[in-house]
Every structure is written in structure tokens, then in C-alpha cells.
Symmetry: C2
Subunit: 150 residues, 2 copies
DNA sequence: ATATTAAATGCAAATCTTTGCAACTAAGAA
DNA sequence: TTCTTAGTTGCAAAGATTTGCATTTAATAT
């Protein structure tokens, strides 16, 4: 069973319908890596299924998001991006506002952050949703972070 | 000196120009409270300065952001929102993806999160940029969070 | 005061994202 | 298989955001 078919099955299991459009979109994002924009998926998927409408991409991504299968995140600038969720490991993103570099945060650290916030605020952070903006080490060393840290 | 004038001075001090448009925008957001959308500021500010263009609002907000005077954040849905930064107290936002309620995170907790992430990843989170999505206590109690926490 | 210039504005066009609605169809029931 | 229906699609329009460019102007120097 291909990666796309596995995703299709998971989507169906969560109560969503699997249409040809969604099949193509799933197959596409399963092979395109992380941090995709809607436009990127659109131009790729439309080659496999001409006539595919971009509104369908947006709506499918929202469904996948509601199904807990992809996470959206907002880099400091530019369009929204998203990634396939790895169910075995929650992960978040650290986005450097200087160089736009994206680093993943691992499960353990996320778990600790979630606990810490929950203990103090009774608020349960969604561990798959975490996007933190800041300055990466390289930019900080280069002094490019000073202005922002202030 | 009015709130708006203080902000204008701060902006000038950071190397940005203070135009009549910016004066009006600053005076406006100084009196409109937190979590504003661009459209909200636009309709308010345009009453004080007819002819003001919405692109100017976007660009001014970006400048204020670069100057470290406002923070942008993305609630789960709907347009981007922003708040005047309180220089004395870094604060972040917890946005409930069920009821859209926004809770502020206080300085101390933020400080600890920043340290924790920095220790492990050499990445310095901007403490003024923190927006975390999740489930608030009320929605969690009501069982509305189950689907998302999965 | 006047001149200088980099930054900011307004406008229009481009791009990105969301939404209403009629037509279509996947998935389950009969 | 056929029926049923709620979920999904395409399309077009609306809404949100960004960008290029000619013009204007705030801040600084003269």
C-alpha cells in the first residue's frame, strides 16, 4: 500500500470521505516533504489531476488539519505552510525571523513545555501546533538578533 | 503627552519616520485595546484621516512590528491580529481552538519557556511573539477538546 | 530657510485565502 | 444493486494581504 493510500485510509477512518481529488492531494504531499505551501501542492497535484481547483486544496488541507493529519504553521512572512503530522512524534517548529531557517523541536521538549503551561494556566497546548519565532544560534552569534531581543 | 505621541516618539527614536498617517494610526491603536485586526484599525483610523489607504495600515503595522512595538499573532482562524507590546512585560497568547478564547501568558512563565528551549536547542524564542494554540480549561472540561488532543 | 534623499504614501494590480451555492458523489443502508 | 444523504467539488465572487511604481515628504544637513 502506497503512502498516499495509507493516508487515505486514515482519513476515511476519521470520518472524512476520500475523493479522487483527495487521493491525489494525499499522494502528492506524501512525496513532497515538509513545509509546503498551498501553491506548491496545487501546481504539483494539478499535474496529476488537471482541473483540480485550488479551493479544493485549501479545503482538503483544512479537513486534514481537523483530522489531525497535518499541522499548519506561519513562518514570520509569506504564505501559511503545513506539514504531514508524524503520529509517533509530536513536533513543533522554531522559525528564525532573521534567516527564515526552520528547526524542529523534539517530542520530549514539547512534552515538558505542555506540562509547564498546563500546570500554571490550566490551558492545554496542542503539541502538534507549536510554532515559535525567534533567533537561531547562528544569527544570534552573528549579532543579527540584537535588534529583536532588544 | 498623549499615548499616541509617546508611541510616535518611540517610533522616531527607532529610526522610523512619523508621518501624519502613522500619527493617526498610533493614536488609534493606543486607544483601541488588544487583539485588533487590520480592518478594525482601518475603519477607525480612516474616520480621523479620510483617504488613508489600507495598504498604509499594513505597512505601518509591519514597521511597528519591526520596531518591536507591536506583536502579530494568528488565532486559529480569521485574519491576523496584533497588539501593542507592553515593554515592561513580555506576554504571549494562548488561543483556544474550540471557543477562540484568548488568554495571556505572564512574563515569568514565558521566561521559563524561553530558557528551557534555549538550553536544549540554542534557539532564542522571541518572548513577545509567543502564540500557542490548544484547548482551554472550560472546553477541556466540557469534553470538547478530545478530538484535537486525540 | 533651502536643498537633499531615503523612506513613506496612494493607487492599482497581483496574490493569497475564504465563502456561497448549485451540482455531484462516496459511503453506508436497504 | 439501487437508494439516500451528508460531505465534497468547481466556480465565481468576496475578502485579506502584498507588491511595483510614480509621487510626496520627514528628517537631516547645508
Amino acid at each position: 500500500m502506497s503512502c498516499g493510500e495509507k493516508l487515505a485510509e486514515e482519513l476515511r477512518r476519521k470520518g472524512f470521505r476520500v475523493t479522487p481529488q483527495r487521493g491525489v492531494i494525499l499522494e502528492t504531499i506524501a512525496h513532497m516533504g515538509d513545509h509546503l505551501s498551498v501553491q506548491e501542492v496545487y501546481s504539483e497535484a494539478r499535474e496529476r489531476l488537471p482541473g483540480l481547483n485550488i479551493a479544493t486544496i485549501y479545503r482538503t488541507l483544512e479537513s486534514l488539519h481537523r483530522a489531525g493529519m497535518v499541522d499548519l504553521f506561519y513562518p514570520g512572512s509569506g504564505p501559511t505552510r503545513f506539514t504531514l503530522r508524524d503520529p509517533s512524534a509530536a513536533h513543533g517548529h522554531l522559525v528564525c525571523t532573521e534567516c527564515e531557517h526552520v528547526v524542529d523541536i523534539d517530542t520530549d521538549l514539547i512534552g515538558r513545555l505542555v506540562e509547564e503551561v498546563a500546570a500554571e494556566t490550566s490551558f492545554f497546548i496542542d503539541p502538534h501546533h507549536l510554532t515559535l519565532l525567534g533567533i537561531c544560534d547562528a544569527c544570534f552569534q552573528a549579532g543579527r538578533g540584537k535588534r529583536k531581543i532588544s
